[in-house]
């Protein structure tokens, strides 16, 4: 069952220097219980896509268009056309979000218990005691020892990994259908990263929820995702089942991303491979394919096609889409 179907989502920020098209006509869908990874460099539009879905882009700062049909507990809704106030009732209940930096994502002046209980109280007309019991239950579930006393602790009394666990407990307190995890491990130590990803996977099964995992860590993607959307300069450039993507990346950008992952199981080469150049300025995107100035394979297309035309996102196999002229029509 399709839980969320996003169609032609565009987010443009008017700035004094010009229009920044952070997300451009992006379409994707996610089924109940599925994990969709969105990968790409900083500024590729991964976070903005999800902030737009959550209605968290400050009003009057952006032009948002498109539709996002979501099957909520209460029936189908469109996240993008909904009144901000109405959307509030689904935010934190049907769709929850955890953020990159657990150090700053919790309010420093309130105990973690207060913050989790608050999240429960907004969406449930229940006694405080019920919410408190629920908070303790969740804290135990995410692996916080002595949850019934730790509930009175303040965020600064926890380590980074523990705070991210608290954030996860807070996000799951209302049994969301969809969890958006925006780089949940980027700010954490490598050993803690693995624990958090494992925890998210376990909880996802237990709660039967879908998850959008935003990351730039291809290792995390390989372990946790069902499907992958690769974003570049505000557009999806490749979308595939995780196995297909790793086995047969079609877009040169995806190939570059995968080649840049350090591999323990391969012989050491002198240096890690990198994609040459910089991500483009979002105000003045290159003409044609946005990736063409950095692409090492545009000669295969020829006739300056990459510099003049933007390729479409086209199917290249079962559930495999790619935005590239290479192999088109094959």
């Amino acid at each position: 069952m399709t839980l969320l179907k996003v169609e032609n989502l565009s987010v443009d920020f008017p700035t004094p220097d010009g229009l920044v098209s952070a997300v451009h006509e992006t379409s994707f869908e996610i089924s109940a219980g599925e994990t969709l990874a969105i990968v790409g460099e900083s500024g590729s539009g991964k976070t903005v896509t999800n902030l737009a879905l959550m209605g968290l882009i400050p009003p009057r700062t952006a032009n948002i268009s498109g539709s996002a049909k979501f099957e909520s507990h209460a029936g189908p809704i469109d996240l993008l056309s909904m009144d901000r106030n109405e959307l509030r009732q689904y935010r934190g209940k049907d769709i929850a979000m955890i953020f990159q930096d657990p150090m700053s994502a919790l309010h420093p002046f309130y105990t973690i218990g207060d913050q989790i209980i608050e999240a429960h109280q907004i969406h449930n007309k229940v006694d405080l005691k019920v919410s408190k019991a629920r908070a303790i239950e969740l804290l135990e579930l995410v692996g916080i020892q002595g949850a019934d006393t730790r509930i009175k602790a303040f965020p600064h009394q926890f380590s980074g990994g523990m705070r991210q666990r608290v954030m996860i407990a807070m996000a799951l307190v209302n049994n969301p259908l969809l969890l958006i995890a925006d780089e949940p491990t980027t700010a954490l130590d490598v050993t803690v990263q693995a624990q958090i990803i494992k925890l998210l996977e376990d909880l996802q099964k237990e709660f039967k929820m879908a998850m959008i995992l935003i990351t730039h860590d291809m290792g995390v993607v390989a372990g946790a995702a069902d499907r992958v959307n690769v974003m570049y300069a505000g557009r999806i450039v490749e979308s595939a089942n995780v196995r297909d993507l790793y086995a047969n990346p079609l877009m040169p950008y995806t190939q570059g991303l995968l080649a840049s992952v350090p591999r323990m199981d391969r012989p050491h080469t002198n240096r890690l491979s990198a994609i040459p150049g910089q991500p483009p300025s979002m105000i003045a995107l290159p003409s044609g394919c946005s990736f063409n100035p950095r692409c090492g394979r545009k000669d295969e297309v020829g006739a300056n096609k990459c510099e003049t035309q933007m390729p479409e996102l086209t199917p290249r196999g079962i559930g495999h889409l790619s935005r590239c002229f290479i192999g088109e029509g094959a």
Binding site: M54, L56, N85, R88, Q89, Y90, R91, G92, K93, A96, M97, F99, D101, S104, A105, L106, H107, P108, F109, Y110, E118, A119, I122, H123, F154, H156, M167, M170
Partner: protein, 332 residues
């Protein structure tokens, strides 16, 4: 928390002792003879001067004088002997020969006036500054924000003596919005209505300047806090904008205001010299200024010391209060 408070108390005492010593040093080594100043401008009678010098203890060595001063603070002090003996009970801050009164009594009369002035003013400027600051932050870049910027500009540019006079001229004399403050300062206990009526313009004058500063500070503090990650978290939970502002943003944004308000209040208690002068209020500021003009040294020492004392105590109160507001401070 107890250890924290006792440590802070000990440090505060040390600071006060240092300040009192510094003030006393300045007092002792000023190029004036405190004894000669006791008998008026055209007094050249060495007999009277020497008698007064002995009476007030100015003939004693410096450290003995300082020690007697400290002792007087706790045990009271007598000047002279026999029938002419003047007794200033503890806490004695010395004796003003020019005013023929114990300094403590003079301060006791002036302090309630200054306190009344400061307390009313701080309520006014907190209400105005915080309210306007929040509005300006919430409707950033729009008309409310622009008006608040104009208010901030005027408020910070106008000196209080000018604001006070302008208020007098327009609000009272031209527009008759409030009756002319008749008569002298009346204590709150005597007649609260008259008290408020007399102090209303002085409050407004002081509040005007401070409210401008606070508006600017609150506006930027609220805007900074709104951009914090934990505010985004609050929004992601599905909280309404009013709860986010009231519970999450303001709690963090206004915490520094507590410190600022405490210190500004302490500063005012030391004497709002200009405002008191413009409105002819017999407060500490006026007491200090008239003492400076007349070289009434014991009063200068006492008012300086009192101002330092108030600042140190308020600092302590503010720090303890802050530990209650911000849990991160408590461990320290």
């Amino acid at each position: 928390m107890f250890a924290y408070i006792s440590r802070r108390l000990a440090v505060s005492l040390l600071i006060l002792l240092t300040v009192s010593f510094a003030v006393y040093v300045i007092f002792a080594f000023l190029p004036f003879d405190p004894a000669a100043l006791t008998c008026g401008k055209n007094c050249n009678d060495p007999g009277i001067i020497e008698a007064n010098r002995h009476r007030l203890g100015y003939d004693l060595p410096f450290f003995t004088q300082y020690f007697l001063f400290l002792k007087g603070l706790f045990l009271g002090r007598s000047f002279g002997e026999g029938a002419a003996m003047i007794n200033c009970p503890a806490p004695s801050l010395g004796y003003s020969f020019q005013q023929h009164a114990c300094v403590t009594n003079l301060i006791g009369e002036a302090l309630p006036v200054t306190f009344s002035l400061a307390i009313g003013a701080i309520f006014m400027w907190l209400a105005l500054g915080i309210g306007l600051g929040i509005l300006a932050a919430r409707f950033r870049g729009r008309i409310v924000d622009q008006l608040s910027t104009i208010f901030v500009l005027i408020g910070t540019s106008l000196p209080t003596f000018l604001t006070g006079l302008l208020l007098m001229v327009f609000v009272v004399i031209r527009w008759h919005l409030i009756p002319f403050p008749s008569g002298n300062y009346t204590s709150f206990l005597e007649n609260p209505f008259e008290w408020a009526q007399i102090l209303f313009l002085p409050w407004l004058t002081l509040a005007f300047a401070y409210a401008a500063l606070y508006t600017r500070f609150v506006r930027s503090s609220v805007i900074d806090t709104s951009n914090e990650d934990y505010i985004r978290t609050a929004r992601a939970k599905g909280l309404s904008e009013s709860v986010i502002l009231g519970k999450h943003t303001l709690r963090a944004a206004l915490a520094p205001i507590a410190t600022m308000a405490g210190l500004d209040f302490a500063g005012l208690l030391g004497g709002a010299i200009l405002t008191e002068s413009v409105f002819n209020l017999p407060g500490l500021g006026r007491l200090a200024i008239s003492a400076v003009v007349k070289y009434d040294l014991p009063i200068i020492v006492a008012t300086t010391l009192l101002a330092a004392f108030i600042v140190v105590i308020m600092n302590l109160i503010v720090d303890i209060l802050y530990a209650y507001i911000d849990p991160r401070v408590r461990v320290a």
